[in-house]
């Protein structure tokens, strides 16, 4: 412990912050459908998910051997690169949360690592092939697989239970849905808390604090588990709202089919050697379930914005990380500047979110479903359209040398 330098300490804290935003961002995966169908009260749902995430973090001792899955050459990685990558990933996670779009936290971290590596060692440090096979292809496959499974399952369940009384069956569907959601939470805790443990362990190894190949110290496991659980408990209500209400209207049978499909796809994919993003599987499953019910609709405008966000995740997080890596390369003042910008940028995004807060009290309100203009205007007020979102991300990048206060200026018109 005594060898931990200031930079290393900052990186560890940043990694825990990323872990927190990860939990916060991904609560929706497990609990959006459960909350929107009324299977669990919002607070109960996030509490259950948080506990299962914490349990999941301790369940498996096999820590992610590589944090990037071979995307970048990790032998040349420095503590600064990890820091820059985390900054990019955190800012993208917060931005997508602000506009209420589910996007993959792992892809944000990948993007950050790629951007920072490109800036520090150049194109030779990045494996382009792996980007296609581990990021692009799964991004297309995940929603298709989960969506098709959820669609067929929804059709089947409506067919089988067609004659039964809807009130009598709703209770059963809700119980089933809670079980599936629990599995998703548990799997999330195991996978994603370990990712952070991997990042911190790698930083510790790179900083010569622990020997290469050693297991993470206990305090790393505990802090990563607690950070992700805390994030999950606070709940990214904006994303929960989009997933549970924005994409389609879910009834208990659909919620059950969607959540079961998501849980199955996540477990099958991670154990058959073709990793699929949890977020993308869950979003796909929700849309599939939406299409599976007779008369069900998917709001393609919301879905399109989500797809655009998925496409932008890697480059946007990469851009921010590359800029951050450029700054950290300038010496101590650069590292301090990146730290200040991270805090300032996060505070700014949080401040924007307060203008139209979404929390456990209004997360299931119906207004999104109304065709009336009220909703559209309300949504427009709180949400930046995807293209403007990208602009805002660019603004963060271009204004990075400036103090945090002025980086707020160019981004705000985009949000109005």
């Amino acid at each position: 412990m005594e060898h931990i330098t200031l930079l290393l300490a900052i990186v560890i804290v940043t990694a825990l912050v990323f872990d927190f935003t990860n939990g916060f961002h991904d609560t929706a995966n497990a609990m959006a459908t459960t909350i929107s169908t009324g299977a669990l009260k919002p607070k109960t749902a996030v509490t259950m998910s948080a506990v299962l995430n914490l349990v999941g973090a301790f369940l498996s001792v096999e820590v992610a051997k590589t944090i990037s899955g071979g995307l970048v050459n990790e032998s040349g990685i420095t503590v600064e690169v990890i820091f820059a990558a985390l900054v990019g990933a955190i800012l993208w996670n917060l931005l997508t949360w602000l506009i209420g779009l589910p996007s993959s936290s792992s892809h944000a971290l990948f993007g950050g690592l790629i951007g920072a590596t490109l800036m520090s060692v150049g194109a030779s440090g990045v494996n382009g092939d792996v980007v296609v096979t581990k990021v692009l292809l799964p991004a297309i496959a995940a929603p298709l697989v989960a969506g098709l499974a959820a669609l067929l399952a929804t059709r089947l369940t409506y067919k089988l239970a067609g004659k039964a009384d809807e009130k009598a069956t709703a209770k059963g569907y809700r119980a089933g849905q809670i079980a599936s959601a629990g599995l998703v939470s548990l799997a999330h805790g195991t996978n994603d808390a370990q990712k952070t443990m991997g990042v911190i362990t790698l930083a510790l190894v790179t900083g010569n604090v622990i020997a290469p190949g050693s297991n993470p110290p206990m305090w790393v496991i505990v802090s990563a588990g607690v950070a992700i659980a805390l994030g999950t408990y606070l709940g990214g209500w904006r994303i929960i709202r989009t997933m549970g209400k924005g994409l389609t209207d879910l009834r208990p049978p659909q919620g059950f089919a969607a959540q079961t499909s998501a849980a199955t796809v996540i477990l099958a994919s991670s154990h058959l050697g073709f990793s699929l993003s949890t977020t993308q599987s869950c979003s796909g499953a929700v849309m599939g379930a939406g299409l599976g019910r007779k008369g069900g609709v998917v709001r393609w405008s919301t879905a399109t914005r989500m797809f655009v966000a998925w496409g932008l995740t890697l480059p946007a997080a990469g851009l921010v990380a590359a800029a951050a890596e450029f700054l950290t390369g300038q010496g101590t003042w650069g590292i301090v500047a990146v730290g200040v910008l991270l805090v300032g940028g996060s505070a700014f995004i949080w401040a924007l979110s307060r203008r139209k807060p979404v929390d456990h009290t209004n997360v299931t309100d119906d207004e999104i479903g109304e065709p009336a203009g009220v909703v559209t205007t309300a949504m427009a007020a709180i949400s930046v359209p995807p293209t403007a979102g990208a602009l805002a991300a660019e603004d963060f990048k271009t204004t990075i040398p400036a103090p945090a206060g002025s980086s707020a200026e160019p981004a705000s018109p985009a949000a109005v």
Binding site: L137, A149, A257, S261
Partner: protein, 74 residues
């Protein structure tokens, strides 16, 4: 570039079959229970059958969930 189509294919197949099978089983269980309620109201012997069937369905689903937890832990 090597894309592992076999792994992708098996993820696709397994997810599809398992999801549909589980949702189907669980639905049968739910329907069975609701049938049992109406059947026992009329005092018929089919109530026992419906209830046994429903519990068998739920037991299979519980087994699948346990297997899922096993996959996560190991």
């Amino acid at each position: 570039m090597k894309i592992d189509w076999a792994a992708l294919g098996s993820v696709f197949g397994v997810s599809l079959v398992v999801t549909v099978a589980l949702v189907g089983l669980f639905t049968l269980g739910i329907v069975g229970l609701s049938k049992q309620e109406s059947a026992s109201a009329q005092g018929g012997g089919s109530a026992v059958l419906a209830r046994t069937g429903a519990y068998a369905c739920f037991a299979l689903c519980a087994a699948a969930v346990s297997y899922g937890i096993y996959l996560i832990v190991v």
